[in-house]
Point group: C2
């Protein structure tokens, strides 16, 4: 089981990839699927997103944490929950600053699951149940640097999986395990978290730190860039 | 004070850069300067290294931890110490698998100091004495992935500097601080360390974990790629 702190690390072949962008892409994907979205197409290309609007997709996304002009939604789990009636059974395009770039790279390598705190135990249970032999956990980071909150979530995940099954851990996984005893308040004061607070997004930030609110497993087949929920709600 | 776990992170402008490749480039540079080498030219280009031989340089280096053919030395601090009579007052070219690639990137950004455990306190004292306002600490990693031993040394460095002066810490620095309580035995069992052991380089590996054996501050002016010792022996 390998942890990579950034998608531009030299990532090996794994049977399954677990993508992390706690603030906020993978939290958003979990919230959207919880609201009953049919599928989430993730792209880093804003123009492609806009083209898909004509095909009936709803548009969600941000750059620099700011909602994109002409989009139906930002990248806010709370906003999705407050609009679940509009989201149910819809196809959504999501484009974000960090997570969608990471997704592009990772989903080309293999099947990908989106992990957040909001759907933590659902993903853990799924991974253990399927008995994957070789797991790659990839953090999105923030603007090309390692992010504390993603590394922390990677560590929690490694810790929980290792309670059930034993894997060889790469150096990245060992580094992430050292973060699991950190105080939540330290993690909630990461560089990206501070930026969200400065933009008035404190509620959204705090919401992303709720554990196991949603029973969803967002799963994307290799090269599909599209998450669907493996758990029927 | 920012820590970057890999040289391909999005590295900001800093007044001074501290380069880390504990196994073994920055340990080797410290050992070479301790042995009285005049200067160490660091390059990732084996052909350039060979050309410099004709100009009187001694050649040191490896790929995949294996000494290069036709080179005077490998990348072994112990080997340098055992040959200090040949090294004294000489100019050396050093080319290694990870550290020399990192050096190329970092020294283009600014003046660079090489940090290892062997010269730990010398570098700490120098940084504090010069009162740098803005420090970038860059780990070389191993073949494009985060390495435990480099991240650990970064954490020790941040911790020691923070005892004397207060800096804003980026997320990477906070992650590295979490490693400082790790047992030395865990760090000495990192992926790269295991590889060195498998290659029969256990003595060299253990030697790199000696603290403060050498009073050297390897300093390279921006774009010179050449370390000289700021402390006269």
């Amino acid at each position: 089981m390998n942890v990579y702190f950034l998608p531009n690390e030299n990532i090996k072949n794994h049977q399954i990839y677990v993508l992390i962008d706690l603030l906020r892409a993978t939290s958003s994907i979990s919230a959207l699927l919880h609201c009953g979205a049919e599928e989430i197409f993730v792209t880093d290309d804003i123009n492609m997103a806009k083209e898909l609007k004509n095909m009936g997709y709803l548009l969600a996304g941000e750059r620099g944490a700011i909602k994109l002009e002409g989009f139906d939604f930002g990248n806010s789990p709370l906003e999705f929950l407050n609009n679940s009636d509009k989201i149910r059974k819809k196809s959504i395009v999501l484009t974000t600053s960090n997570g969608s770039k990471a997704m592009k790279k990772i989903n080309e390598l293999g099947d990908t699951i989106a992990l957040s705190l909001l759907n933590f135990s659902s993903v853990v249970d799924f991974i253990i149940q399927r008995d994957f032999q070789n797991i790659g956990i990839v953090c999105s980071g923030t603007n090309g640097v390692v992010s504390l909150e993603d590394s922390y979530l990677a560590g929690l995940f490694v810790q929980r999986i290792m309670e059930k099954q034993t894997y060889h851990l790469n150096d990245g996984a060992k580094v992430s395990l050292n973060l699991t005893n950190s105080k939540r308040s330290l993690i909630m004061n990461s560089d990206h978290a501070k930026r969200l607070k400065n933009l008035g997004l404190k509620d959204d930030l705090e919401f992303c730190f709720n554990m196991d609110l949603f029973q969803v497993v967002p799963y994307s087949k290799q090269n599909s860039y599209t998450f669907k929920n493996l758990i029927t709600i």
